[in-house]
């Protein structure tokens, strides 16, 4: 694989089976999340991207197999210890009515507090830093529900950053945002990743965003990982045809370097979302 470091990575899944009640989403999945890198998970709707992220973050208990964080079974570690190490931004997060950006961000400090400890200078500093990084300092006293979609998402990112975890898991952080907000948010994640070495895993829908921002791409299809590696190795016309059912041309991105995908036309709808299975010639 892409990893040159011999020691196992901090976050890895070992032959996990993921399921909701009776529905099995993915079986026998193994994956190593490279430390300090920006990993992006892509794949068609319903392929199990978010489920993998939920399993990696301890939200979903795996049917079999084990997720390891720092070599320990993530379900056998103390919840608060895991939370101090690993932060998650879920897909649809709704803030309680009336709470301010500052109040939302400060709730990210939960794993660092005990039942009787008071709000510390360290907590305060972490929240201020998170607000500064997300450029939300000016809006700190505004109610979250009065903000625009892009600002609201930044407020949630500030909450996760205040958590000061060294691993960030982001479930479709750019969905529902306009292109300017998408880019500025992805720039922020890329910067946090390169400046502070935070291991970042994001589920994204836009393949070109994945190509541009990811160090590694994980491609999922039908609950399996079909490719894992740097964009240039992974994003081939063959893979795009197989996984997404689109005929595409991959060119060199003239602005940012790396691969850039231009879709020509759809060959078929991926089976996981198609009402009936049909194979185009």
């Amino acid at each position: 694989m892409s990893q040159s470091v011999p020691e196992p990575s901090s976050l890895r899944a070992d032959r996990i089976t993921m399921a909701y009640q009776d529905r099995i989403i993915g079986e026998d999945l193994s994956v190593d999340i490279a430390d300090g890198r920006f990993t992006v998970i892509i794949g068609p709707n319903g392929c199990g991207k978010s489920t993998l992220l939920r399993s990696l973050s301890r939200l979903l208990r795996t049917r079999s197999g084990t997720v390891y964080l720092d070599g320990k079974d993530i379900h056998r570690s103390r919840a608060q210890d895991v939370a101090g190490r690993l932060g998650l931004l879920p897909q649809t997060a709704i803030a309680p009515p009336g709470i301010t950006v500052f109040d939302l961000a400060r709730r990210g400090r939960y794993p660092h507090q005990s039942i009787l400890s008071r709000w510390s200078a360290q907590d305060e500093a972490a929240v201020h830093r998170a607000l500064a990084q997300t450029e939300m300092t000016e809006l700190a006293d505004r109610p979250v529900d009065e903000l625009s979609g892009g600002q609201r998402q930044r407020a949630w990112v500030a909450m996760v950053l205040a958590q000061e975890s060294s691993i960030l898991l982001l479930d479709e952080p750019t969905t529902f945002l306009d292109v300017a907000h998408q880019i500025s948010l992805l720039d922020l994640f890329a910067q946090l990743n390169s400046d502070e070495g935070r291991t970042t895993v994001a589920v994204l829908h836009d393949i070109n965003h994945a190509a541009r921002y990811a160090d590694d791409i994980i491609v999922m299809s039908h609950g399996r990982i079909v490719a894992h590696g740097p964009p240039v190795d992974v994003l081939t016309p063959e893979l795009l045809a197989e996984v997404f059912g689109v005929e595409a041309v991959v060119i060199d991105d003239p602005v940012n370097g790396g691969p850039h995908i231009i879709t020509r036309h759809r060959t078929r709808i991926p089976a996981s979302v198609a009402p009936t299975r049909e194979e185009a010639p």
């Binding site: 939200l59 997060a93 309680p96 300092t137 700190a140």
Partner: protein, 342 residues
Amino acid sequence: MHDPVGATAHATGSRLVLALAGLTAGLVIAIALSLMVGTETVAPSRILAGLSGECDREATALLLHYRLPRTAIAIVVGIALGTAGALMQAYTRNPLADPGILGVNAGAVLGVTIAIATGVSLSVTTLAVPALIGAAFATVAVLLLASTGRGPATPIRMTLAGVALGAVLSGIATAMRLYDPSTFERHRSWAAGSVAGRQLDELTGIALLVLTGAVLALLLLRPLNAVALGDDVAASLGVNTRRTRTLTIIAVTLLVGAATAIAGPISFLGLMVPHICRLLAGNDHTRIVPLSMLVAPLVLVLADTIARVIIPLRETPVGIVTAFVGAPVLIWLVSGRRTNTQ
């Protein structure tokens, strides 16, 4: 450039201190009023004399056997219902929830009604047992109802189950009272919600239950603040959401069971008070719950004082006063734009 975050945080903090000071002063005044006002007005000097044991026998008797227990009960019941209401609103993520919405009130009332009808127990201390059993029964039944079918017991499913079960349990209790009116004659004011006619020694056990529930509530504040962000976020922050929920339900059961045993069902207090506190302090449970512990007894003591004089020479059960005051206040709160923002 000045620091806007620090400045406003400081402003909110000092506003809160001001509100706390004002409310504490208000509570002291309300307690003084409730000791003075009634069918016979007692002057402040006589109250002080009576409390310090000096021999104004008439005033001493009135105070120690009638007004003091009544005020003390109003304070304890107020703390219980205010805290329970704030917990329920946090638990269901619904700013208009109250203990009644999960059927806990109705369960406690039915428990007491059955105990009275069967003649099992008639003193307040022993009535706490059927009240708690009834409250716990309603809680467990709602949890079971809400978890049938697929998926976990979400707040919305619990609310639906609670409202439905509450209606059934209240119906049964009402039918039992109508079927056997003579037995329930002396409990008529209890059924409407009242803090009158009890003695101080009846309060001890109740106060201990309320204290337990209140301490539990204070320990749950930070997890509840995280749960308010959604179960996924709470879990990713390291909160054990299931344990938080279970402990919240236990606290509510203790508080409502105890309050109902001694005072009957007092409506609107648990709904109205946390709502007022949210307007004062913002949508933050670490502030709403403690503030509710101060505001609810203040409101109940005042309402009980009003209940004594609103119809001359007649006692109105305080539950009726809280309903009459609570309903318009609630409508005003909901209709105004004050609902969402702090």
